[in-house]
């Protein structure tokens, strides 16, 4: 039983839950920043419970630093909102650290920049004034013993505690005290254990949980990667950064402050994310050494990927459970074409998924129904339903649509016979009514999977702020179209690509305030995140008003790489597209924060896997604009099935412009072109692409078009068009070029779904090779 267990799923659960919990936290911290006590107080019970669960879950996964960090946040939030106004900025930073740790829990280390950023950098004396003044001299009287959750902290908080919190006067700087820095980190709560937990070797200590259940399954906690090793090491390194900075500002010292222990002096002033067991600074001093030692041990641990590690873009992957259950079937279809995986196999997969405990996942996020004391305002009742169950229904709705269409066709075909017995009119009317209902059902069903893009966008304002601050830049984030709906799995999966684009914009696009002023721009840059529905697609833009694309540098670089001939000048759109190719970077001075980890080529392939596209263009505000187009829903999209070289293939109907009889094929360089209505279209032969034996010359051209590009996929015949559930290809298959997923044909066989955009790119490459060869 545990053999079938997928560790990645555990982390997926963890991240999913963490995101919900962080959304609550973001709302509360936003209210704190606005000094909106009522807003911050609303839903506090739910928030605290959420953080408590997050803490517990982090503990179960052995993510000790994260656990401590969340604990610190939880402890702070037990104070009345008014007491926290002054430290909202610092709390945002801590929340960013939590967010990063959550997002990268269980992921292979693909983004060291998160560790470098050290988001839990509590305010330092040298910080920009805006954060300084807010945080420097303030004390979070950390009064409540976390061991006693039943005691309402407000009552225990001495009246004086609020006053120092509002005191923004900077405290005198103190010489470097690693001890103070260490104390500033929540790890200081149990210094010995926390320090040990940074060390790979110490992970299996009795304090750290083990997830393994049987010898057959890998032991999460026994592997350093699973714990400190994932980029969630951003958390330990966060406290590390503080220690390294060499100057422990008063702001970083832990405030302990039980009434008798309340220190009014600079010594204890500051923001404590540590839980408040009264303890003198001096007592923490000897532990500094072990902290530094732990620091040294960390990088090694960070290098490898977690065993159950799953890349974030796969994390939200919905139908993963089902499709992963039969990689063999799909795999064979790649090599040999369609394989009769059979509907039963698919349904078995569903059943398997259904047997999982998600029965439990149906739960109401809303509180208040039971009339508990903490029940607050009215909330919409929410039901959590596992994707597997939803997909089963969506699939059945698809079948229903197919059956209804079949009935409609039957009525049309038997029109004369029905007429003869006087039933034609009645039959037609009933079939039409049925079709309308089926269509409406399909729409409603699809909506079940969509969420507002706000849940993704909402993460970026604080994140971009962090990134900019770390580089002495200023960025203001403007969100537009947050209520635009997107498939939940897509929404989850685009977080990483968007994160990369945002970081890219801040690192490379946005200039320093001085540079901006010199260029006559306001010192703070603007970063727009926009979403808008475009029919069956959602368009998402990331635009900045920074320095924009440097066409000349890009052309130079493309020539250097031999992608463009010395005399060749590609159109701007094509040139801009080079940024999505591996190995293309026009920046010599790759910054500390970017240029590592995933590149724009990964952004593109991630987006392609979602059956979307990404392009870059010169924005209207002088900067660069990245445009993503993503399908509104990944489930049940109209799919055209065709036969090519004796194999059944599928393509999203939205990609297909028309299908027409093919004329004669001409050759240009290494590429073939065919004339369709006076337009010379590049020819795509699936047989060549997948190495199949082509039989007779195909007779049909299926014209696909994306933006300015178009191509003709050669096919023998069209089979049908109907709504189908798209599943990602199993990870084991990698991402073969030109294929973006799999679906089932009418007979339940697994069929590859062609990626029109990628196929066109393949042809451009081919054409270019040919042109150069000539």
């Amino acid at each position: 039983m545990s053999d079938s267990f997928d560790f990645a799923e555990l982390f997926t659960d963890f991240r999913d839950e963490g995101r919900d919990q962080l959304a609550l936290l973001d709302a509360a911290l936003g209210a704190l920043e606005r000094r909106d006590a009522a807003g911050a107080g609303a839903g506090r019970a739910e928030l605290l419970r959420g953080l408590h669960t997050l803490k517990g879950n982090a503990g179960m996964l052995g993510l000790r630093p994260l656990q401590d960090l969340v604990h610190g946040m939880e402890t702070l939030l037990k104070h009345p909102p008014e007491a926290l106004f002054g430290i909202a900025g610092a709390m945002q930073e801590a929340a960013s650290a939590i967010r990063r740790a959550v997002e990268h829990a269980g992921a292979p280390g693909q983004d060291e920049s998160l560790a470098v950023l050290a988001a839990l950098r509590l305010p330092q004396p040298g910080d920009a004034p805006d954060t300084r003044s807010a945080a420097a001299g303030e004390r979070a009287g950390d009064v409540v013993s976390p061991a006693d959750p039943s005691s309402p902290p407000q009552e225990e908080l001495p009246k004086t505690a609020a006053a120092p919190l509002a005191d923004a006067s900077a405290q005198p700087e103190k010489p470097a005290s690693p001890a103070a820095a260490l104390r500033a980190s929540p790890a200081a709560r149990k210094p010995a254990a926390a320090a040990a937990s940074f060390q790979p070797g110490a992970i299996a200590s009795p304090e750290s949980p083990r997830v393994s259940t049987s010898p057959a399954s890998p032991d999460i906690s026994a592997s350093p990667e699973a714990m400190g090793g994932s980029p969630s090491a951003g958390v330990p390194s966060a406290s590390v950064a503080t220690a390294d900075s060499g100057s422990a500002s008063p702001g970083t010292a832990g405030g302990t402050a039980s009434p008798e222990n309340q220190r009014g002096s600079d010594e204890a002033a500051g923001i404590s994310l540590a839980s408040g067991k009264p303890r003198g600074l001096e007592s923490a001093a000897p532990r500094a050494a072990s902290s530094e030692k732990a620091v040294g041990a960390r990088p090694g641990a960070a290098a490898k990927s977690a065993p159950g590690g799953e890349s974030p873009e796969e994390a939200g992957g919905v139908p993963g459970a089902a499709s992963r259950d039969r990689p063999a079937a799909v795999a064979s279809s790649v090599s040999g074409g369609s394989v009769a995986a059979g509907r039963t196999a698919a349904e078995g997969a569903h059943a398997e998924a259904d047997a999982s405990p998600e029965g439990v996942a149906e739960r109401r996020a809303a509180e208040g129904a039971a009339g508990l004391p903490q029940a607050s305002d009215m909330r919409e009742e929410v039901l959590r339903v596992p994707f597997a169950r939803l997909d089963a229904m969506l699939h059945q709705v698809g079948e229903l649509a197919t059956a209804a269409a079949g009935l409609e066709a039957w009525v049309a075909a038997n029109r004369a016979e029905l007429e003869a017995v006087g039933l034609r009119r009645a039959a037609t009317e009933r079939v039409e009514a049925l079709a309308a209902t089926v269509e409406a059902t399909g729409r409603s069903a699809r909506q079940l999977r969509t969420v507002p893009v706000a849940r993704v966008f909402g993460r970026f304002p604080p994140l971009a702020g962090d990134l900019a601050r770390a580089q002495g830049k200023q960025v203001r984030v403007v969100l537009e179209g947050e209520q635009t709906e997107l498939d939940k799995s897509t929404a989850d999966a685009i977080l990483d690509p968007l994160l990369h684009l945002v970081r890219n914009a801040v690192d490379h696009g946005v200039e320093t305030p001085a540079e901006r002023e010199a260029a006559g721009k306001p010192p703070a840059a603007t970063l727009w995140l926009r979403a808008v529905s475009e029919g069956e697609m959602v368009r998402i833009e990331v635009e900045d008003d920074g320095r924009g694309l440097d066409g000349e540098a890009m052309l130079r670089r493309a020539r250097e790489l031999g992608w463009v001939g010395p005399a060749e000048v590609p159109p701007p759109a094509e040139l801009a597209d080079f940024v999505f190719r591996p190995g293309f970077s026009t920046r010599a001075d790759v910054t500390e924060l970017s240029g590592r980890g995933i590149g724009l080529d990964v952004v593109r392939s991630t987006v392609a896997r979602l059956r979307g596209t990404v392009e870059v263009e010169q924005g209207d505000e002088g900067g660069a604009r990245f445009v993503l187009r993503l399908p509104l829903t990944v489930a049940l999209v109209p799919v055209l099935f065709m036969e090519s070289a004796g194999q059944v293939l599928a393509i999203a109907a939205s990609d297909v412009e028309e299908a027409t009889r093919v004329g004669s094929v001409a050759t240009v360089g290494a590429a073939e072109v065919v004339d369709v209505r006076g337009e010379a279209l590049a020819v795509i032969r699936p047989s060549r692409l997948f190495g199949w034996e082509a039989a007779a010359e195909p007779r049909l051209a299926v014209v696909v078009r994306r933006g300015a590009r178009a191509a003709a996929i050669l096919a023998d015949r069209l089979l049908e068009q109907r709504p189908a559930t798209i599943r990602p290809l199993p990870a084991a298959l990698g991402s073969p070029r030109g294929v973006s997923g799999a679906t089932l044909d009418a007979d339940g066989r697994v069929v590859l779904l062609l990626d029109a955009g990628e196929m066109m790119q393949l042809n451009v490459d081919l054409y270019r090779e040919g042109a150069r060869a000539q």
Binding site: S2, M60, S208, R210, G359, V360, R364, A369
Partner: protein, 127 residues
Amino acid sequence: MPSERKKLLVVEDSPMMCRMYRIVLAPAYDLVFAADGSEGLDAAAREDGLDLLVVDVNMPRMDGLEFIRRLRGELGMTEVPVLVCSTEAAEGDRALAESAGANGFLPKPWRPEQLKAAVHEQLGEAP
């Protein structure tokens, strides 16, 4: 005992925790899940032959302690053993759980063998 598997009700709101319970316990027991105290009461009333309840404390709508009180009181299920698993690991929490009617207390994070041992103990099984 191939056929006579014991049946456990797990009252836990976190999907991730549910998955962990399933990983550790499903090989040996039949599991029923409920997402909060209120659903837990429904499940406890509905399911026949529950051998053990594993209950989280921190849950929406109705927390674990209230759940146990009502289980013992309103539902009159005074015999079935209840194991509380809580992140609140202090002795006070153990005492609170016991006074609410819990038979055992397991602090989180637990290791699989600790959970198994606690379940064995409550079920009176040999480890």
